[in-house]
């Protein structure tokens, strides 16, 4: 009798919860042996088995796979080391960006990653991304208009920021009923603002202002404030 692909069984074991691991593997093997091989033949049966294993590739399954492949502390330490090396040494050398700007980018990226890790379901994560992209585009448009204006003044940018971020937080929490989605949206828009601001500063050839790292932090507060109201209408 043709056996199921061993690598697929290993992958399946990594994808499902330890509580159900033996039962799910057993069910698939039973179906594979009793029904699929006799009706499909060896090759198609192996493809069927792989297809079923891939059907477990979901949000939770991928998280389990990651924790099964690498111990958490080792994984994060290695990722942090690579990110730090790239941002502090490689990026300034390649792009000519100042070290100060790169350190601030790193802080913003860490904040954004922290907010993203607070989102537990795929539906919430998708909503956060969609809302952030939508409002970031609106904000980008405001930046475009401001830069194109005959005389540059940052007032429209600040006003737009103070209106857009709480609105985005309100919208996300109204849909999900979860406060942290508002914080995450705020943080993502804040990070985008921050990166767009860096580009703007480079384009206008002005030095980065000392308060420049603030947008992500302010945005998370504004997003959360918007979410407090949005949650009431969920």
């Amino acid at each position: 009798m043709s056996a199921q692909p061993p690598w697929a069984e290993v992958l399946l074991r990594a994808l499902v919860s330890p509580r159900d691991r033996d039962m799910i593997v057993g069910d698939l093997i039973e179906e594979y042996r009793e029904t699929v091989i006799p009706s499909m033949g060896a090759l198609r049966a192996r493809i069927w088995f792989c297809r079923q294993v891939l059907s477990f590739l979901r949000w939770e399954g991928l998280a389990r796979l990651r924790s099964a492949m690498l111990p958490d502390c080792f994984f994060w330490a290695a990722m942090a080391a690579i990110a730090e090396y790239t941002l502090l040494f490689v990026l300034p050398q390649k792009t000519g960006a100042s070290l100060q700007a790169v350190v601030v980018w790193l802080a913003a990226a860490l904040l954004a990653a922290g907010a993203a890790s607070g989102i537990r379901t795929a539906a919430d994560a998708w909503l956060v991304c969609r809302t952030s992209v939508l409002w970031s585009l609106v904000f980008g448009f405001v930046i475009f208009l401001t830069v194109r204006a005959a005389q540059f003044t940052p007032v429209p940018l600040i006003v737009a920021f103070l209106v857009i971020v709480p609105l985005a937080g309100f919208q996300s929490a109204r849909h999900t009923g979860v406060l942290r989605t508002g914080s995450a949206v705020g943080l993502m828009i804040g990070t985008v603002t921050f990166l767009l601001g860096t580009l703007l500063a480079a384009k206008l050839r002005v030095p980065i202002p000392p308060a420049y790292p603030l947008p992500p932090a302010v945005a998370v507060i504004l997003g959360t404030a918007g979410a407090i109201f949005g949650k009431r209408f969920a």
Partner: protein, 113 residues
Amino acid sequence: MADVLGTFEQAVLLALARPKTPLGKEAYGRALWKEVQLRLDREVSAGAVYATLDRLEQKGFIASEVRAGGESRSGLPRRHYAIQPEGIRALNEAKAVMEKLWADIRRPLKGTA
């Protein structure tokens, strides 16, 4: 009122409550998987069925217990499921919602889409 059950959740709960095949009556993972495919009349992935079973168990609509498995599955155990009173209530509620939704509407619907 709590969230109404989705079609797939209803199919899984009905497979448990009223199995159509002798295998379905055994009410373990693979049996329910096949029963759901039979009810929906289409191929269904294993991942979708087990994710739904997991969710229904967390909601308290079904309960499970582990029993020993046979040689056909390399001696691996089986998880047997049973529908709970909350599950029956949720099914009845879902049916009532659908009937209310379609009340006074003549089927099939006519007109341009």
